[in-house]
Amino acid sequence: MLNTVRETNPMPEQAPDIRSKNFLEVSIGYTEETAINEALRCLKCRDKPCISGCPVNIRIPEFIDEVAKGDFEAAYKVIRETSSLPAICGRVCPQETQCQGKCVRGKKGDPVSIGRLERFVSDWYAEHYGNILPEAVESNGHKVAIIGAGPAGLACAGDLINLGYEVTVFEALHKKGGVLIYGIPQFRLPKEIVDREIKALEAQGVKFVTNAVIGRSMFIDELIDEEGFEAVFIGTGAGLPAFMNIPGENLIGVCSANEYLTRINLMKAYLPEYDTPMMKAEKIAVVGGGNVAMDACRCAKRTGAKEVYVIYRRGQEELPARLEEVHHAMEEGVQFKFLTNPVKIIGDESGKVTAIECVEMKLGEADASGRRSPVAKEGSNFQIPVDLVIMSIGTKLNTLILDTTDNLDANKKGGIGADENAKTNRPEIFAGGDAVTGAATVIKAMGAGKKGAASIHEYLSKKS
């Protein structure tokens, strides 16, 4: 029977004043009863707009229907047919602009909480069947190399191994998972979940080579010409952090969000038994308004900072971060300085940061992206005393693969040139995710990884 309540079932969470002092997962997850109750809100619309909002086209109404019937295992199988990493996507997808953004229930009241249901189903499955690893897949004899063990590479590997390919994933870091491991913090995506998904891929036969920087340790042409790989998928991620080019950016106490998050998430610098150092600070400013900025400011809170500011040059409406993260950050006591832009970072005689100087902004004409571009108000300069500044203003593309691969074309942005089917100008090379588009989201990268797998399958099927 349809649940006609306009409001969605709230997500049980750790209380803000408790969770802002620990790294445990913030959202606790739906119970079976809540999940069924939420699933019963689905209208089972005939044209299923939610599916078109999903980059990997999960058959959403179908899995929700299974949840409503209480058959969570069946629900999991429906999701697993199109998504290789459901426990991850349920947690990190920006559902409000994807599936839930299209939900008809959202027109009058809250959309169905598809993300929370996806998370519930995969957690339920892991709890009941988590120790049962999938079986190894029989090889079809064709070798495919994947560069980068992040969301694009893992999704590509998941689809290719199911098709019988011999898949080897090369990863530059010592740990597999890419941004899921070094970028997204434990309290938003527990690392055990990422490890579980990777173990499942390994059980199916995917090989991983860590500590391998393709373009330095090995080259793509070498993989093809000497190592017998018939196709290569490049999913190397976004690349180099951007800085603002303002005075004082190289002072002690200024770092990129990439560096800050990597020290915390990959290197566990916040735990005393790990050697990696990190800057402990009382007052921290995070510059930027994306998901990475939200991760950084919330980590800053958890490392014991008394005051944490997010400095963003546009207004709250324009924040590119996922809604839930902004909401969580605010609850946890992060102070948002909207329409504010840094112009200078000030240090003392020992070269350490003491303050950040900003100007107030107002919104002017809409720019190319359709967002109104901010303009500085003359003479509105003011300073905020801080001892750590974290720059989270985006990334520039890394050219290592392009520089070291024969005749591989770049796109206009300087990324690897690949079409919507992940095809590059070289027939045996495919690419997708942030390495092609610049910084985007986990699910878009996964979508590109799946496109890559389909195109590789098509290419190798024709070839043999």
């Binding site: 391998a212 690349g239 190289n250 290197m267």
Partner: protein, 284 residues
């Protein structure tokens, strides 16, 4: 042979050690001037180290380090047959050797270990290579025989005059230039302050200079940006744009300040190495 197994260990002086480590994926394409990042164990930090050499046939790389910080002190506990948790590389750009005919390489202290492969690499590429090795005192002198057997001229100087000639490397550079030696490049590898003055002298004589920089870094592939440094007014990353840069463009004050980024945390970490176990870890 296991990955990252130590196959050879030799103490060079009171605090410097030469290791050969099995790392075939690194050794295969390694070139002089490139570096690796290593991790001792699960709890270890990632630290960059320039390779002192490699053997692509044996799959080994050479690492020379000074036991000065927590990680290098922990490395000192490892013996032949022990393994590192991780080694990744080769990273960074190789030394540019093209077209060089006469080169002066200047090494300071532990920098001599990093200058060593670079000088040999240039010699192998066909240049005439002179080298100045500078140390604080006699006990710290390393690699003299190895360098003498390969290079054209090797000059050893010590700050206190206990070995070789008394003086700083900069004095010797000035002397060689005033004697009419001409070089088409001067390479400096050592403490930032030494590199700064060597590159200044080169500039005064209108000789191009190259400085090999070290910096804090986490991933070594351009992702963290911790190793950024101002070069000619622009931010460059030591890991992907370097580690070697035009010495006349390096912002030395920036480099010197940034080299102190974690000095407080490092002093703390070092003070917490267990005096009973010498750093051997006991947590599971």
């Amino acid at each position: 042979m296991k990955d990252f197994e130590i196959t050879y260990k030799k103490r060079l002086n009171s605090n410097m050690v030469w290791l050969k480590v099995y790392a075939p994926l690194v050794a295969k394409h390694a070139k002089p001037g490139q570096f690796i990042i290593l991790r001792t164990d699960e709890f270890g930090e990632r630290i960059p180290l320039t390779m002192a050499g490699h053997d692509s046939k044996d799959g080994t790389i050479d690492l020379i380090y000074a036991a000065v910080g927590k990680t290098t002190l922990l490395m000192d506990q490892l013996e032949k047959g022990d393994c590192f948790a991780d080694i990744v590389g080769p990273l960074g750009n190789p030394t540019e050797t093209k077209g060089l005919k006469q080169v002066l390489v200047v090494g300071g202290g532990t920098g001599n270990a990093l200058a060593y492969p670079l000088a040999i690499g240039m010699k192998d590429a066909g240049a005439q290579v002179d080298m100045i090795e500078g140390f604080k005192t006699k006990d710290l002198v390393i690699l003299e025989d190895e360098l003498r057997s390969k290079l054209d001229n090797v000059y050893v100087v010590t700050d206190d005059g206990s070995y070789g000639e008394k003086g700083f490397t900069t004095d010797k550079v000035k002397e060689l230039l005033s004697q009419g030696n001409s070089y088409d490049e001067i390479v400096a590898v050592g403490p930032p302050i030494m590199m700064k003055y060597v590159c200044q002298i080169a500039k005064e004589h209108s000789i191009p200079s190259v400085a090999s920089l070290t910096a804090y870094m986490v991933d070594g592939t351009g992702m963290c940006g911790g190793c950024r440094i101002k070069i000619g007014g622009e931010d460059k990353f030591v890991c992907v744009d370097g580690p070697e840069f035009d010495g006349s463009l390096v912002d030395w004050e920036d480099l010197i300040n940034r080299s102190k980024y974690y000095s407080k945390q490092e002093a703390n970490a070092k003070a917490h190495i267990c005096t009973l176990t010498g750093g051997v870890r006991y947590h599971a």
